[in-house]
């Protein structure tokens, strides 16, 4: 196991993962997984339910320590102060602070993340996500969709250079999804988005990594995936086949 103290690393890509493994007891959630993401990449992590997507993202975001392997965020350990300054992580089914209002959530997390021009940044996010009229409400009184919008705002409030998102469009209606996509397009960031909805991957990302039983089974561009649509096979059935082949 590598030393926790190490920080700088020769590879300064947004993400460098090498031979990473993680088990829950006897269950291997991530198995010898390697991946590199370059600056500006928009990568979709696709996989079945329980394939290991969320565990992979937790390891990348520094919430979980891998059993084996190396992970670097811009050359730093994921749990390091430097790496955390650059990432924005949205977990699956996230929970904001329930006792704080929408605005207070944004103020506190934005402040802790040392966001520049915090006040105007909060106004901008409230406006983009149509949360302005709810800024004094507590999250418990919000609909699930509006709570997801608040969590999205919390994860990107500090303008992260590397956005790691686990099912970011859960619970959101179609107009809001469109707004989010457009905003993501404007962000000067690298994206890693975990999803099991292919249309999201096709719409926003440029590269797809398919994971099955914790292992990477395919890595390529949307174009490469489209070329595999032969004999009338849809992209969904191609992806499904890739996921199943490993078993």
């Amino acid at each position: 196991m590598e030393s926790i103290a190490s920080s700088n690393f020769e590879n300064s890509d947004p993400l460098f993962m090498e031979s990473v493994s993680k088990s829950y007891g006897k269950i291997k959630a991530v198995d010898n997984f390697s991946m590199t993401i370059k600056v500006g990449d928009r990568v979709a992590l696709l996989g079945e339910n329980g394939a290991g997507k969320s565990t992979t993202l937790k390891i990348i975001s520094g919430l979980m320590k891998p059993d084996n392997g190396r992970v670097r965020i811009f050359g730093y350990l994921p749990s390091s102060f430097e790496a955390k300054k650059m990432i924005g992580y949205l977990p699956e089914d996230p929970s904001p602070y329930l006792n704080l209002s929408v605005r207070e959530n944004l103020e506190y997390i934005g402040s802790i993340r040392q966001t520049e021009n915090l006040e105007s940044r909060i106004e901008e996010l409230l406006d983009i996500l149509s949360l302005g009229s709810m800024e004094r409400q507590k999250p418990l009184s919000l609909s699930r969709g509006n709570r997801q919008k608040l969590c999205l705002a919390l994860s990107i409030i500090h303008n992260p250079r590397f956005a790691i998102m686990d099912e970011p469009l859960n619970y959101l209606d179609i107009p809001t999804q469109e707004v989010i996509f457009q905003y993501f397009e404007r962000m000067n960031a690298t994206f890693l988005i975990s999803t099991h909805i292919l249309s999201i991957a096709k719409r926003f990302t440029t590269r797809i990594v398919i994971i099955s039983s914790g292992s990477k089974v395919w890595d390529g561009t949307i174009g490469e995936l489209e070329k595999m649509e032969t004999d009338g096979k849809s992209m969904e059935s191609v992806v499904s086949g890739l996921m199943k082949n490993v078993h």
């Binding site: 269950i27 919430l63 749990s79 955390k84 990432i87 904001p96 602070y97 506190y108 040392q114």
Partner: protein, 473 residues
């Protein structure tokens, strides 16, 4: 940055509900100690009470407590650029503040007993300083130490507190006996040692991995989905309906009835019932003169029975709600399914009755030592009545079924508790108050009645199928 994080943690923990709980504990403490001092309780009631609260607090903190981490902390704070040297003290201090507030509220009543001298103030100060021991509790939990280490440490804590009553000058509460200076030295020493041990315990841990995994300590059982594998149909129905407690609440507007179902674990209910039984026991002891003067000693048992029976109804108000889909998958006759649910609910009532039976036992020994054997019957009485209620609830016309996706009968206490069965129960209880021996024929009669209901095939077929058909219209 430290202040920002601390402010976030404190503000997110000190909700109005938390403060309400603290207020309740404070009022409860004041009442307990006030009445304790004027009744025929032993001398030094206040110091015993303080010691009890202190022990309860320290031991529960060590064994089950520790770091308070919310999902929001994990999702947004632990992924923020905050150094551990900032994060960990902020967690410790916010937790200690919240814990101290509860402790001071609970211990405040004891100050009344010390009002004649300046020791009351010292008691309050020491109580807060003694929270220094909390870092060890937190570090033990954070580091995931096993239960034996935690229980062992809790034992040491208990010994330190209790030693004050055996003349040890450096004990946690020795100031009560006039050893103020020595006691303070003891507390300061413990503070230093506790902090050192806590630092040492978590020194090797790579935070925040440890903190983030703390909120999901049972990760190993994360995907254990085989709890019903290889279980018979009967076993599955019993197990499922025993383990889940169903609450329902209803609201009507514009002719529509909305139902909200909440389900909690039976173990959570057991803890709640244990707390209620403890409060009930304390209140009876404090108000014993008034209570026994009015009801007589047997009234204690009956109160327990009635409380347990009523709560068992309350905790099953949502039984059979939202079960239509489940039933469409079953391959057994519906009356068989419902009878098994009935048995499960009886077992559930039996289980949650235990704290009140223990309460009755304690009160029986404390007060007179009589009626010991009847306590055993008490354990089964609410369960029998729970079964009767379940069976008879199908008689009620479920007027709301056409608007809801519910089975016809929802075994709803809010509809049912005020009806004849409750009156019968109440009548029996009063009869037993006057003639305690009546409990035996009352128990046998109730059990026989339930047996006849369960065995009466015609009853179930006529009632159930009729209402099920109504429900499916």
């Amino acid at each position: 940055m430290f202040i920002k994080v601390l402010k976030l943690l404190v503000k997110s923990r000190f909700s109005r509900y938390f403060l309400l709980i603290v207020f309740f504990i404070f009022i409860y403490s004041l009442f307990t100690i006030s009445f304790g001092l004027v009744t025929d309780t032993p001398d030094n009631f206040g110091s015993y009470y303080l010691a009890f609260i202190f022990l309860l607090f320290l031991i529960s903190a060590t064994v089950a407590g520790g770091l308070s981490l919310t999902a929001a902390d994990r999702d947004f704070l632990l992924t923020s650029p905050v150094k551990n040297i900032t994060l960990i003290p902020a967690f410790f201090i916010s937790q200690a503040l919240a814990s101290s507030l509860i402790f001071v509220a609970a211990a405040s009543g004891a100050l009344i007993d010390f009002r004649t001298d300046q020791l009351g103030l010292l008691a309050g100060i020491l109580a807060i300083v003694c929270m220094a021991i909390l870092p060890i509790s937190m570090s033990l939990n954070m580091a995931g130490k096993n239960i034996y280490i935690k229980v062992g440490f809790a034992g040491v804590e208990a010994a330190w507190v209790v030693s004050s009553f055996f003349g040890f000058p450096y004990g946690a509460l020795s100031f009560i006996n006039g050893s103020g200076v020595d006691s303070s030295i003891g507390v300061i020493l413990v503070t230093v040692v506790a902090t050192a041990v806590a630092s040492q315990t978590i020194r090797a841990e790579s935070l925040p991995f440890r903190i983030s995994s703390f909120s999901s300590r049972n990760r190993n059982s994360y995907r254990k989905t085989y709890s019903f594998t290889d279980t018979s149909v009967t076993g599955t129905i019993l197990k499922l309906n025993f383990r889940q407690v169903d609450f329902t609440s209803r609201a009507a507007s514009m002719g529509n009835i909305r139902v909200r179902i909440n389900r909690v674990s039976i173990y959570m209910m057991f803890i709640i019932m244990s707390v209620l039984a403890s409060i009930f026991t304390s209140l009876i002891i404090v108000y014993q003169k008034t209570f026994f003067g009015f009801f007589g000693s047997f009234g204690v048992y009956l109160s327990s029975v009635y409380i347990t029976w009523f709560l068992s109804l309350m905790l099953s108000t949502g039984t059979l709600s939202k079960e239509r889909a489940w039933l469409s998958f079953t391959s057994i006759p519906i009356e068989n399914y419902l009878k098994k649910v009935l048995y499960a609910k009886m077992l559930q009532t039996l289980f949650v009755s235990v704290p009140f039976v223990i309460s009755s036992l304690i009160l029986g020994i404390y007060v007179s030592g009589t009626y010991f054997t009847l306590t055993v019957i008490l354990l089964f009485f609410p369960a029998i009545f729970s079964g009767i209620n379940f069976s008879l609830s199908f008689i009620r016309k479920p007027y709301q079924i056409l608007q809801e996706d519910l089975l016809p009968s929802t075994y709803n206490a809010s509809q049912f508790a005020i009806f004849p069965i409750s009156m019968t129960m109440l009548g029996i209880l009063f009869a037993i108050t006057i003639f305690p021996v009546t409990i035996i024929p009352a128990f046998i009669g109730s059990a026989a009645f339930l047996y006849i209901l369960i065995r009466n095939r015609n009853y179930w077929q006529k009632r159930l199928y009729y209402w099920v058909e109504m429900g499916y219209q």
